[in-house]
Structures are given as structure tokens and as C-alpha cells.
Subunit: 379 residues, 2 copies
């Protein structure tokens, strides 16, 4: 199967995947063009990893750059029947980003590229560095100058060259974009390269298989750049297109109150993320003030009948402690969804239209909440 | 099925499991008495965790205290055909100790105990704290006063009470033993409680299933207290007893040259660990100067025709970097086996009888090497 090309989400211009384009000349974001897929099958068997769904991925599974990622446990929660936790930090680099990084690294090797750049202070940078190293592709990772030493050590261990950039997260992205504009450089971006989302869509497939096709009513997802949310939306949409499910679950996004550009857009009825004043948050993985795919995220959530809510630092901290008491130590970013569910069920959720709209979904008889990153990422 | 009792490995005295005994009055260590098992089956299916082998475990699987542990990936190594890495850090608390902790916590709940103690500065303490918290059992963890803050944070996050003890690792164990001697206290010891090894034996079962019964010739294991080695030995011995394999793989133990009581015993032909002078090592998880089950470890290794070798700090560091370049970031303790394999294959292994005896096994056509703990445990 040839590698599917990309196309502009705005002007529909086609971009050969070998062009290494990651943004259209019109400024539009790129998506993957439709390609012939074989739908996943229940009981198809195959490896106990996301590559059991290789036939539905845009890269060849037989040559996958794989570290065994995916097929993470779906755990019941004591005393909360119907609520399950998808333990998606049980991944080679300890976060769900490995789903997308494995696909990007496989693509990079298929394309024969030698050099790649990425930008991330955290989980995506680590995942991309690990998988590109395995693929034999040299990698520069642009990070904020203030990135904690532990995270830098993890990225450096995988052989990536670290480029520390003074300034905002946007300044880091801008520096990466300059490097990515060099000839023959692959921008291994979890935000801009749409192949990444075909990795994270396996999150939806796994829930479908692990529930034996009896999907939950509600799927809750933390939202910063939306890599898990958009992947989950894509996966459920594909299952529906194949007639394998009646309707996708309702997607409920959760942001930190300290950085709520999408939750506020939802409250305002806006089609794009809105400017916000941010404050510090422990949920650094979703502290994205201007998500590039904001419009896609909002459209995806609305299409499922969902909404986006915020939780505060106190709620996030309490949720993290509650998960640890269940034996599951996660980073703060991973605790925001649990905080939202606990608030909805305890009746302590704040007022407001988006929260009111979220309550029935967070209290639904079946809800899946992800645990995206290990606690040691941010002890 | 009733919970099998314990018996003294030295005087054969029987100890009811409900007695909470963990050492015989004669000073002997306790083992689990033989119990009726159903052997594991290839293609039996079941959950994608170690509980697919519940019928072979001493605790009931239907009430397991589980976080989805086990069935970790077995990965090929690029350019080394026949060599596979068992990525056993893809566990809820990020180390293989979860296998044993899940069984101990299930036992604790079955026994109805309310209080437990453990002693460990590292992975076992974290695993036991997490699983006992999920089981609703309060837990005190005795640790060396010098334990790094990150590890303490992880143990404390699971709600365990931390008791810092000045002195050596033996002083810590002695303090834990005093606490464990209180009435109705469960000593959740990865060293003394033999149920733990029935958790780690699933490591062997999984290799058997993942290789479709075509076991590797050699299984390499890091050795400190021997919880993985003794568990692997037990698992392979059970498979052989059921006629499912012709012979167990050769077990090659690896210790840090900085703390080699078992490697030196092997070189000396001794039946028990020998006193050694230790020096600092990054492989802190196996820096055990006086392993309680030393005699059992030596006997197990010899029974398979294996031996125990040492690797130095430089080799461990280089092996860790080599694994990270493959995309796999592990703690130093997890890199010692890889260091041994690389030395054997590069012809750089030191001289000496035990190393000479290990070379053909480490160069065998099929070898499994475990990655026991995530790199962020010790960045």
C-alpha cells in the first residue's frame, strides 16, 4: 500500500507525503487523505500492541518501528461500577504519545529521512526521541529553556540533540519551525503531522475491542493540543463509517482552569480557540494557550454532543491523590479527567453552561477515563 | 481452593498461611507447600495480564488485586537475531515487582489483614505500597534514611507511612522485622514471603507463551535478592513438571561487580552467598550484600547449568546508553544483563571460570534479557 498523501484542511490542496510539508502555503493545517483501510475486527488476534490494527494504519505494520506500545489495560474502578480507567501510561516511554511516535517514526524510516526535528518540553519530545532513535533517524528536540532536568535527561538519553529556547512555548515552536524548513528535514510534530493522529486513533480501537464492541457512553480526554482527543475522534469515526458501532461515544474534553482556551471557546460558542490569560498549572502537558488544531478539536467535540470543562489545581491535586490511593501514580496532567469525573459525581462541579452540559455525560452509566502519563514524569 | 500453607525450607515444619509467619523458629526460610495447579495453556486466552495464569497461582484470580500487570512485550533486538528483550517495566508501578506485589496484596485481602509492613528503598516498596493501598490494607514501608526524595514521594503517594531508618540495608530490614512481629501484622516482604515468587513466576509463563512454547536456550536475570530469578526458576520448573517443556532454559544471573556475594560464591563453589566488601554502584536494586535466599538462588542457577557473572559500572552505563539508543530507557539495575550480553558477544568479558562458563550461554542462538525498571526510577 502506498503511503497516503496529505491535504490541506482549508484549501484542499494535495501535499505529497514525501514533500515533508507540514503546513499549507495558505496557512491551513494538513490532514491525511482518505486511504483504503481494512477495519479492525474483534477477535482478529495479532500482536498485543496497537499494531494488531496495522491494516487500518497509513504505515506498513510489518516494518513498524515498535517498542510494544498499546493494548494498555482497561481497569475497573472500585466502588464506581461502569467507570473504567485506560492505563495508557503503560507505554515504552511512559505516555500515550508513543502511539503517535511509533507511526511517525515508521513513516520517517519509510521515507528514508535522516534528520528530524521536534518541539516539546515533555512527553511528545521523549516519545519522538525514543522512536526516531530506534528508527536510526537523528533528531533535534526544541524545548523551553526552563524544562526540568529530569525530562531533558530522558530526551538526551535517547540520543536527541536538545535545543533550549528562551521565551514562550510559541517561541519554541517557532524555532523548531525554522529548523524544520531546512531541506530534507522531517518535522516529527505531534501537532502538525497528521500521521500522528492515526497512531493515537488506536486508543479508540482498543476501547472498542476491550469492551467487546459495547462502547462506553462517554469518553473523557485531557485537552491541550488535542492529540489524544482528535485521535480518539478519528478512531471512533472510522468504526462508525465501517458500521462497527452505531454512534461514537460523547467526547468530554478537560482543560486546566489555568489555561482554558478551548473550554472558553466552548462556553462562548466560538469555532476557534479564544485568547486567554494563563496562570501556572501543574498540568503542564495541556498548558497550551493557542492550540493549532483548536477549530478541529471544537468541531470534533461538538459533533459527538460533548463539551469541554475546566478543573482547578486543587481538584487536580486531590484527583491525583485519589488515583494513587487506587495504586495508580500519574502525572498531574493525567489527573484532570479524574478530577472532572469526581466533581460531577460529588456534585461539586462549578456552575456554568459547559459544566451543566457535561454533568449527565460524566455521570453516565459507562465512562472511560485515560491515565496518559506516569507519575514519575513529574514527581 | 484453600490458600496453600507455608513450610520451612530447612526443617519442613508447616506454617499455616494465616499464622502470618515469615520465618521458621529454626531460622529457616519459608516456601509455599505444594498445591494443586492447573498448568497454563497456550491459546487459553484470558485477560492480557499475568492473571491469565490464575489457575496456576496460589490466590484466587477472580478477586485479584490487579492493576493490569503482566503480559509485557517481548521485543526483538535490531541486528541481533534470536535476542529478545522482555520489557518488564511496562507495569503499573514501572517495575517487575508488580507481579509479586499483586499476589501478596491479593493474599492480604483474602486473609483479612488490616496492617502490613514492608522494607525496601526502591521498586518493591513502591509496588507493595501501591497494591496494598488498592487492597485497602494500611502499610508502613521501612527505608534507608538516604533514600532519594523521588522514590519516597512515589511510596508516600500511595498512602504508605514511611519509616526512615539510619544505618545499613540490614538495619532497615531488622527494623521492619520488629514491626512485622507485632500481632496481626502482615509482613509484605518480597524476600521472605514465598507467595511473592508465585507472582514473579508468571515471567517464565509469559516467555513460554510468547515464544509459542519454543523457549530460549538462555534466560538472563539481574540478581540481588533473587526475586525474579527464583520466580523464573519456579515457573520453568512447573512447566517442566507438567511436561509442557523438555528442559528449563539455562539461567544466567548478573550482579554488579561492586556487590557480588553470589557471583563470588559461584566462583568459589560455595553453597551460600559469601561475605564481600561492597563499593558504591548505580545498580542499587541488586546491591544486596547478604541475600537471604542466597542458597536457593545458587542451587537454582546450578540446576539449570547456569552461572552468575559480574559487570562493572562502566559496562552498565554503556549498556544503559545502548538500550536508550534502541528507544528503551531503563534504570541502571536493568542494564546489567544487557552489559553482560554485550561483553560476551564483543569478546570483552573478563577472564575467570564463571565468565568462561557463561559465554556460550550468553552467545546462544536464543536469549531473553529483561528490562526490569523504568529509567525515570533513577534518572
Amino acid at each position: 500500500m502506498p503511503l497516503p498523501d496529505l491535504c490541506c484542511a482549508r484549501c484542499r490542496r494535495r501535499h505529497p507525503v514525501r514533500s515533508l510539508d507540514w503546513l499549507c502555503a495558505c496557512g491551513g493545517l494538513l490532514d491525511v487523505t482518505p486511504f483504503d483501510r481494512e477495519p479492525p475486527r474483534l477477535d482478529a488476534g495479532g500482536p498485543a500492541s496497537m499494531w494488531r490494527y496495522a491494516s487500518a494504519l497509513p504505515v506498513p505494520g510489518k516494518d513498524a518501528v515498535s517498542l510494544g506500545e498499546g493494548m494498555t489495560p482497561l481497569l475497573p474502578v472500585p466502588d464506581l461500577p461502569g467507570v473504567t480507567l485506560k492505563v495508557d501510561y503503560l507505554m515504552p516511554t511512559l505516555s500515550f504519545k508513543d502511539r503517535g511516535a511509533a507511526v511517525l517514526a515508521t513513516l520517517a524510516r519509510e521515507l528514508g529521512v535522516r534528520r528530524a526535528v521536534a518541539d516539546s518540553s515533555g512527553n511528545a519530545g521523549t516519545a519522538v526521541a525514543a522512536y526516531l532513535s530506534r528508527a536510526g533517524v537523528s533528531c533535534e528536540v526544541f524545548v523551553p529553556a526552563a524544562t526540568p532536568a529530569g525530562k531533558l535527561a530522558q530526551i538526551a538519553a535517547h540520543g536527541a540533540t536538545i535545543r533550549a529556547v528562551e521565551g514562550t512555548r510559541e517561541d519554541v515552536a517557532a524555532a523548531a519551525a525554522v529548523a524544520a524548513a531546512q531541506p530534507d528535514v522531517f518535522y516529527a510534530s505531534h501537532v502538525y503531522h497528521p500521521y500522528f493522529l492515526h497512531g493515537t486513533k488506536t486508543y479508540a480501537y482498543e476501547i472498542w475491542e476491550q469492551t467487546r464492541g459495547e462502547l462506553p457512553r462517554t469518553v473523557v480526554v485531557p485537552v491541550g493540543n488535542g492529540t489524544l482527543l482528535l485521535g480518539a475522534h478519528l478512531g471512533f469515526a472510522e468504526l462508525a463509517a465501517h458500521g462497527l458501532i452505531d454512534r461514537p461515544p460523547v467526547l468530554i474534553g478537560v482543560q486546566a482552569a489555568a489555561c482554558p482556551p478551548l473550554a472558553e471557546a466552548m462556553a462562548d460558542g466560538a469555532d476557534e480557540s479564544v485568547p486567554v490569560t494563563t496562570t501556572p498549572t501543574t498540568a503542564d502537558g495541556i498548558a497550551i494557550a493557542r492550540p493549532a488544531r483548536g477549530a478541529q478539536i471544537l468541531a470534533a467535540v461538538r459533533e459527538t454532543g460533548g463539551t469541554i470543562v475546566t478543573v482547578d489545581e486543587e481538584g487536580t491535586g486531590a484527583a491525583r491523590a485519589d488515583l494513587a490511593a487506587q495504586g495508580l501514580f500519574v502525572e498531574p496532567t493525567s489527573a484532570v479527567c479524574w478530577a472532572a469525573l469526581l466533581a460531577a459525581r460529588a456534585g461539586t462541579a462549578p456552575a456554568g453552561a459547559t459544566w451543566a452540559g457535561a454533568l449527565p455525560h460524566l455521570r453516565a452509566e459507562s465512562v472511560v477515563v485515560p491515565l496518559c502519563g506516569a507519575g514519575l514524569k513529574s514527581p
